[in-house]
Structure formats: C-alpha cells, structure tokens
C-alpha cells in the first residue's frame, strides 16, 4: 500500500540504524508516547535493532489503558439499563471493570455493540428512536474530532436519543505530569504523530523548553520511528531541546484547523482521572455547556461514582515508563490477555499486551 510500504523498506531502515549508531555517543533514554508506536516497535523488533546505548521506554498513550475504572463501571451500569444500546470501539469490551467487563455484560443480555465509527452509533440512534444509544467516547485528540462531529450531527439532525459517555484525554498535560516528576528519567520524547495531525505541535514547545527535552513528532511505521529516534539522538548529542517534525507528510504545526474548530465548539477542557496515574488537571474533554444534553453521565445520573483501583495491577507504573511490563510479578502468570488484571494487558495498544504478543519475556528482554 502506498504511503505505508515505503516506510517498511529494510534497506532504508538499515541506513537510519547506521546513522543512529554513528550519532549516539552517549546512553540516552527516549520515551515513545503513543501505544500504537509501542506496538510497532515491538512488532518489528526495533527495540532489539537499536544500539545498546539507546533505551526506549513506553509512555501513557493508550486511551483504553488510562480510562479509569469508574468510567468502565459507568459503562457497565448504563449497558445494564433497559432500553439502552451501548456502542463502543472493540478495544473497550474486554477491559476489566470492578465487576466484569462489557463483553460479559453482553453475554448476559445487555445490548452492547461494536462500531467502527461514532457515526455508526449515530445511525443506530436514528434507526431506533425508542432506545437510548450511548457511545463510549474513549480516545486522545486523534479520535476527539470524530466524536465531536457525531454530537454536532446529532444536534443538527435533532437526534435526541444519542449521547456520549466521555473518557477523552489529552497528551500534553500527561507529558507535563511525567516530566515534572523529580524521578523522571525521560531524556527525549517521540510525540504521537496522529495526535499532532489534529492539534498541531505548538503546545509541545513550552514543554521542550521548560524541561529541556527534545520532542520529535513521529509516525508509526519502522522508518518513521527510527527517523524520530535519530532526530531525538541528534538533538541530545548537541545539547538541543526543541520540537521537531519527522512526520512531515501529514503533521503540520497548526494541525487540522477544521477539526480544531469543531473540538472548540463541542468540547470543553476538563480535569480527568487517569487509570493508575490519578487526577491530572485540564487533561481531558467534557461536553461544552451548549451540548450538555448529550452527556450520558448526566442523563443516567452517574456523576458521583468513585471506585478504588486494584492494588495487584502495576499498570500505573507501566504507563509512566517506570517499569517494563516484564518487571511486574503478575506478567504472563496471573495476568494474561485471556485473564487480564488491567487494561494494558488487553488493549491492542497496551504495553503489556505488546510484550506478551511479541514474546518479550523477562528472560528474553534481558533488562533492555
């Protein structure tokens, strides 16, 4: 496929690897932020191809993984109400809440449906006016414009039986939380390319300057990821710390203006709790007051729910890059994709799932 295969060319990959080897004179720790990037790195074995002095650690960029337990419990509570159709991306269905997951709820008779796009959920609402159709709106800035557009269309078309259960999170505040930690080991960052396609990358400039870390806007294919690493290493070796774009074909400084305009109209920035990390100020989206009628928490009276996280799951430490999945005592034993303790083991973007699927056991990882 065009604009995809070129970035998997082994010869080009080798060229960039050689450039990284030649450039990296010191040991550096670089975090890739997005879970999709983590999966590509492990799938293509890039972590094992890089020189030994370049250590990649994995970031919090898996929206499914950081969705707090109470939001999953809210989804379960909504799905169990009569007359409700709960629509979700497939990734959320097996994430454990405090009492089961959405797939189990479906097996017990709840009407839970997997959709490809929020517009599909809106179509279901139009077709079934006697049912309440709730879309579980999980995602980072990449997904937010799609969900915002579904709400805007519902308002325009007068579809009153459609609402969102909001679990939208934002990348820059989470990075600020990680970088401001006194124990932070991150020296360079690969910023999530598709988030930047929507928002642009100006919001990362104050972070790069204040915490003195190079931040490189990076794509998802092997060549993209290695070009991101190379750019970060170059800056680190020169003592620079600025935002640089290595995903030029789709990411622009100001992002996507049409998408940003709809986001500004439909959503409002709000505080959000991140699973395993805790509350981060101004780190998510809620519905803007003008669109409050589409807020499922309000419709179903579930605002006050609060739940404790289970202690045995260390996904919070994994999501902050503090431990590797293989350093968790439950990894691959009590916690597997079939019986996950936390979302990082079940999501297609979770770091634990990536380590499990691509055979990185504690022994094989060898501390890298």
């Amino acid at each position: 496929m065009r604009h995809l295969d070129e970035y998997r060319d082994p010869a080009a990959v080798r060229v960039v690897l050689r450039q990284i080897e030649a450039t990296a004179q010191h040991p550096w720790t670089i975090m890739e932020v997005c879970g999709g990037q983590t999966h590509s790195i492990l799938k293509f074995g890039l972590d094992e191809l890089l020189p030994a002095n370049i250590r990649l650690i994995h970031g919090p960029g898996c929206p499914v993984c950081v969705t707090p337990l109470e939001q999953i419990d809210r989804a379960l509570a909504i799905a169990s109400r009569p007359g409700v159709i709960l629509c979700s991306f497939g990734d959320m269905l097996r994430v454990p809440g405090s009492s089961g997951d959405l797939l189990t709820a479906k097996a017990r008779g709840a009407d839970v449906r997997i959709v490809y796009s929020p517009l599909d959920a809106l179509k279901i609402a139009s077709r079934e006016p006697d049912r309440q159709v709730v879309f579980f709106a999980v995602g980072f800035e990449t997904t937010a414009p799609a969900n915002a557009m579904a709400v805007q269309c519902a308002a325009r078309q007068g579809v009153g039986n459609f609402s969102l259960l909001m679990a939208h999170v934002l990348v820059p505040p989470a990075l600020e939380a990680l970088l401001s930690d006194p124990e932070c080991v991150i020296q360079g960052l690969l910023a999530p390319g598709h988030v930047c396609v929507v928002t642009g990358y100006r919001a990362y400039e104050p972070l790069a300057a204040h915490y003195h870390v190079p931040i490189v806007v990076t794509g998802f294919e092997p060549l993209d990821l290695l070009r991101g690493v190379l750019a970060a290493v170059r800056q680190l070796e020169r003592g620079e710390a600025r935002v640089e774009n290595q995903y030029e074909r789709v990411a622009r400084a100001d992002g996507n203006p049409a998408a940003r305009a709809v986001l500004a109209e439909v959503f409002a920035v709000s505080d959000r709790k991140w699973r395993g990390i805790g509350e981060i100020p101004a780190s998510g989206y809620a519905l803007a007051p003008a669109y409050a009628a589409f807020d499922a928490e309000r419709i179903f009276g579930l605002e006050e729910l609060a739940v404790e996280e289970p202690r045995e799951c260390l996904s919070g430490l994994v999501l902050q890059g503090r431990i590797r999945p293989t350093e968790c005592p439950q990894f691959g034993t009590r916690c597997t994709p079939e019986h996950p303790l936390g979302a990082t083991m079940v999501s297609s973007e979770g770091a634990c799932a990536a380590y499990f699927h691509y055979g990185r056991t504690a022994q094989a990882a060898g501390g890298r």
Binding site: E6, S117, T142, H194, R249
Partner: protein, 97 residues
C-alpha cells in the same frame, strides 16, 4: 486507538453538510467522512481514523523525506566496498518469492 491508515479517495458523495468519500485501502474500499479535509479531491491520499479523514497526505513532503534518505543511503553504500545493501535486499526478496 490512534491507528490511522492512508488510503486513496476514489469517489466523493454526500451533501455539502457532511461530505463522504469511498476510500481505497490497497483493494479494500470503505466509507470515510471528509468534513475535516475540505481540500481533498478524487485521487488524493487521505489519512483515515475511525471513519474520518484527518489529513490529506502531502505528496511533496513524503517524496522529499524519502529521497533525502535514499541519497544518504547511496553515499553510505558507496563507502562500503563490495557491499550494495539495496541489491542485497532485492536479491533476498527474489529468493523469498
């Protein structure tokens, strides 16, 4: 969840209110909303995420990045006596098929 795939716009339909397209992903065609890429036209490559095109691929930027890399590769390969990595890879692929 932030997975987005580039595909080619093969048809544009829908109203001005919500412009929709048929997008070809290497032989598989799906519907995608073009509301966020008003500039996109038939033949363009767009980056699609959960049924929405979120960017038009900048062909020139893509070409520039790749040709820069090819140049570096050629310079490096010239320095390696008797070893042509690109030829090596081409030979390997032939063997695989």
């Amino acid at each position: 969840m932030c997975l987005a795939i580039p595909g080619k716009v093969v048809a544009i339909e829908g109203s001005d209110e919500l412009r929709m397209a048929r997008v070809d992903f290497g032989g598989v065609t799906r519907e995608a909303c073009l509301a966020y890429v008003p500039e996109a036209k038939i033949g363009d490559y767009v980056l699609v995420h959960v049924g929405f095109a979120i960017a038009t691929v900048d062909e020139q930027a893509a070409q520039e990045a790749l040709s820069l890399l090819a140049e570096v590769g050629e310079i490096e390969d010239l320095g390696k006596e008797g070893v042509d990595l690109r030829k090596e890879d081409a030979d390997l692929r032939k063997e695989e098929t």
